[in-house]
């Protein structure tokens, strides 16, 4: 399916509805329903890119965001962010605004082209959107608490149906949050992209251009911090040497 090229019409409405549905499903999958990992930034961005007609764009943005948040745990109290909606909305918006994915992250042109700052800019937008969306996630969890406490009446009257309805309502709320935030981020991305392209100062462009190169190191640092530095270092060292040799001499 290709992204709508301007104007209204049924096709455009259907496309935006499809994006909202994808956002809802990703938000549900992240924490509430199935948790299949399709809600992780990489597959979510690939799906958003595919919906916009450029799966490769989703691959580039999703890969970087996935590496950046590789240490995030979608577990109960740790779940305070909204990477899924950010990845879907911002990627789709960027593609609609005319962003094209670089040929390959390892290609020299990715780092030397005049538009090399755009990938870093998209990464910053997704990170900021995830943090802002996290405020809504926290509000949603407070609403869950209120609804859960209102379900205490079922302990007195034995009405199971009420508890099921409350649980279902929580699912709907998460889906709604995902759909709305995805649409908002897509619109924000659409609006911000030309503004940034026209007015981004040169020093900021330079910093944004090199930001993606920081992400793999950030991911490795986060994972080592999670696993602990000492216990597995021989395994890490051996794998690092293998990876280095394979990429340097064999690929």
């Amino acid at each position: 399916m290709n992204a709508p090229v301007g104007g209204g019409g049924l096709e455009s409405v259907l496309w935006w509805a499809g994006l909202a549905l994808l956002g809802a499903l990703v938000a549900l999958d992240e924490h509430s329903l199935v948790q299949s990992w399709f809600g992780q930034p990489l597959p979510a961005a690939v799906l958003a890119g595919a919906l916009a007609g450029q799966p490769q764009a989703g691959l580039a943005s999703g890969l970087l965001l996935q590496l950046a948040v590789i240490g995030n745990l979608p577990v109960g109290a740790s779940y305070r962010l909204d990477t899924g909606s950010a990845a879907v909305g911002m990627t789709a918006g960027a593609v609609l605004a005319g962003w094209s994915a670089p040929a390959g992250l390892l290609a020299r042109s990715t780092w030397t082209a005049p538009a090399s700052w755009q990938l870093g800019w998209l990464l910053v937008c997704m990170a900021a959107a995830s943090l802002l969306g996290g405020v809504l996630v926290q509000g949603e969890q407070r609403t869950h608490l209120r609804w859960m406490l209102s379900g205490y009446r079922s302990v007195r009257d034995g009405d199971l149906r009420r508890l099921e309805q409350l649980h279902g309502r929580c699912l709907w709320l998460t889906g709604l949050r995902g759909a709305v935030l995805t649409l908002v981020w897509a619109q924000v991305s659409l609006w911000l992209w030309p503004v940034a392209a026209a007015g981004m100062p040169e020093p900021a462009r330079a910093a944004l251009a090199w930001l993606p190169l920081l992400v793999p190191a950030l991911a490795a640092g986060t994972l080592l911090e999670r696993f602990g530095y000492r216990p597995g270092w021989p395994l890490v060292a051996a794998s690092a040497v293998t990876g280095f040799v394979v990429v340097s001499f064999l690929v």
């Binding site: 995030n72 199971l160 649980h167 929580c170 920081l214 950030l218 994972l223 911090e225 597995g232």
Partner: protein, 262 residues
């Protein structure tokens, strides 16, 4: 295969419609997660198909609601063991067997803790970073179809685990604890960690090789500065700051680095 089916005439069977109903709800166990009692509403929603099927008095339903309205938290992928086991104990209670409320609560709390700890170690800290790093590797090669295929494969595997664990939990009842105390689980924790560490090492190796490959384009000083910043930041903030915040925090440092190495 006898899982979920009675192995002797005395053993109860979990009806197919109830099993399906419980399974679908098990997939949304965390949907109503809240700070105070975590997955309690989700657990009650899971038990509802079975409770609706039983001819329980109003008093029995109220008592059941009270029992499960308290704190409950476990790993969603292994929750089938807990829910299946609880259904078996409730079944025994409804049939008039000597199973006290305390037995049920004790079983629920203990097993939820065990499954929570195992699931967090194996799935969240081991398998998930490992699978996603593998997906990132496929993404770096430009194979988006393979990325989606990998995630689909993992999804099928976890759905199978959930379906089977529910049946196993019901078949074994309180004895499901024996299954979870098998050395296999400990091995799974160790191996998922090793896979995660190996893939982290591979990421580091590929990163350095790519840095050398990009060579003059990036500049040695700039590359080493970025590497140092990337490795140091998570160690400095020690999981107190989210990854997104770390990324935004690093932006001024990257700018300084770019200016310094220009």
């Amino acid at each position: 295969m006898t899982v979920g089916k009675p192995t002797s005439p005395d053993e109860p069977a979990l009806e197919a419609t109830v099993r399906r109903g419980v399974f679908w709800r098990l997939l949304s166990l965390q949907a109503s997660w809240n700070d105070q009692r975590m997955q309690n509403l989700g657990l009650l929603a899971c038990l509802a198909p079975w409770l609706n099927r039983q001819e329980l008095s109003s008093q029995q339903v109220r008592s059941c609601c009270r029992r499960y309205f308290g704190y409950f938290n476990t790993n969603p992928y292994l929750a089938g063991f807990v829910v299946g086991g609880l259904l078996r104990l409730e079944h025994a209670r409804a049939a008039g067997r000597p199973v006290s409320e305390r037995d049920v609560s004790g079983f629920r709390d203990t097993l939820a803790r065990v499954c929570g700890a195992l699931g967090d170690q194996i799935l969240w800290l081991g398998l998930r970073p490992g699978v996603m790093l593998l997906a990132c590797g496929l993404a770096a090669l430009g194979r988006w179809q393979l990325v989606l295929a990998l995630v689909a494969l993992v999804t099928l595997a976890q759905l199978w685990l959930r379906w089977r664990s529910l049946a196993m939990g019901f078949r074994l009842g309180a004895d499901v604890v024996d299954v979870l105390s098998r050395p296999l689980w400990r091995q799974a924790v160790i191996w998922s960690r090793r896979v995660g560490l190996s893939l982290t090492g591979l990421l580091i190796g590929v990163y350095f090789a790519s840095g050398f490959e990009l060579g003059e384009t990036v500049g040695t000083g700039r590359f080493l500065g970025l590497t140092l910043l990337g490795f140091a930041l998570p160690a400095l903030v020690r999981q107190k700051t989210s990854a997104e915040a770390q990324l935004l925090l690093s932006l001024p440092f990257v700018w300084l680095l770019v200016v310094a190495t220009a």
